[in-house]
């Protein structure tokens, strides 16, 4: 079974530039998550989709971050404009469903963003 795919793997930009990350979840997984992982810390949820609808975006800095999952499959996360503190690994994860019972989340390899 193919895992969660993310691209690019690495990105270096200057502050105030824009950047976009792409994620393709495991086939058939209805729920998709974007996490931000700052060096030395655990992942922090940015946004969660159920199919093409947003379930939770309470920790997404909406003044600069946006995400979409238009067809309920792959997703893009955008930062515009980037700040130095956005340097982190951006992880995408997917799970089969979002129900009252915990569903295992499968993570992609992440995109390492460096903002100079």
């Amino acid at each position: 079974e193919a895992g969660v795919a993310q691209s690019p793997r690495y990105k270096i930009i200057e502050k105030r530039q824009s950047v976009a990350f792409w994620c393709n979840p495991i086939s058939g997984h209805a729920t998709l998550y974007w996490y931000q992982q700052i060096l030395g810390q655990g992942p922090k949820l940015l946004i969660q989709f159920q199919n093409n609808g947003v379930v939770d975006d309470s920790q997404l800095p909406k003044d600069r971050f946006s995400a979409e999952r238009l067809k309920g499959v792959d997703s893009t996360l955008k930062i515009q404009p980037a700040k130095l503190e956005d340097s982190a690994v951006y992880l995408c994860a997917s799970s089969l469903a979002w129900t009252q019972f915990y569903n295992e989340q499968f993570f992609g390899p992440g995109t390492r963003l460096t903002v100079l």
């Binding site: 969660v4 998550y33 992982q37 060096l39 030395g40 810390q41 655990g42 992942p43 922090k44 949820l45 969660q48 939770d56 690994v89 992880l91 994860a93 979002w98 129900t99 009252q100 019972f101 915990y102 569903n103 295992e104 989340q105 499968f106 993570f107 992609g108 390899p109 992440g110 390492r112």
Partner: protein, 113 residues
């Protein structure tokens, strides 16, 4: 590859030893607890989970213990191998599965041959 283990608590063991990694969680209403392993340059990988109505669960070479009284979770790895070297995170979810995951601080495990 890059490391997410910088500035993390580190546990160094010899190959063949048993390892114990501890985690304090924050929400007494959490219902699910999960341990993840993260190798350098990779995303977190599920190891084992436990529900709040249990105090122990065993997998292959791993055991998770849950002490709800003191909000403490531990991961025991038997006969630790060099391939176990990674950063380990605990995560909590709850009070229902609809809740999102909250990750704790990680611990880097270094296994020497």
């Amino acid at each position: 590859g890059e490391s997410v283990g910088l500035h993390l608590p580190t546990l160094s063991v010899q190959e063949g030893d048993n390892s114990i990694i501890n985690c304090a969680y924050s929400n007494s209403a959490s219902d699910y607890f999960i341990w993840y392993k993260q190798e350098s340059g990779k995303g977190p990988q599920f190891i084992i989970d436990i529900r709040s109505n249990m105090d122990k669960r065993q997998g292959q070479r791993v055991t998770v213990l849950l002490n709800k009284t003191v909000k403490h979770l531990s991961l025991q790895i038997a006969a630790t191998q060099p391939g176990d070297s990674a950063v380990y995170f605990c995560a909590e979810s709850g009070p229902s599965g609809y809740s999102t995951l909250t990750f704790g601080k990680g611990t880097m495990l270094l296994v020497s041959p």
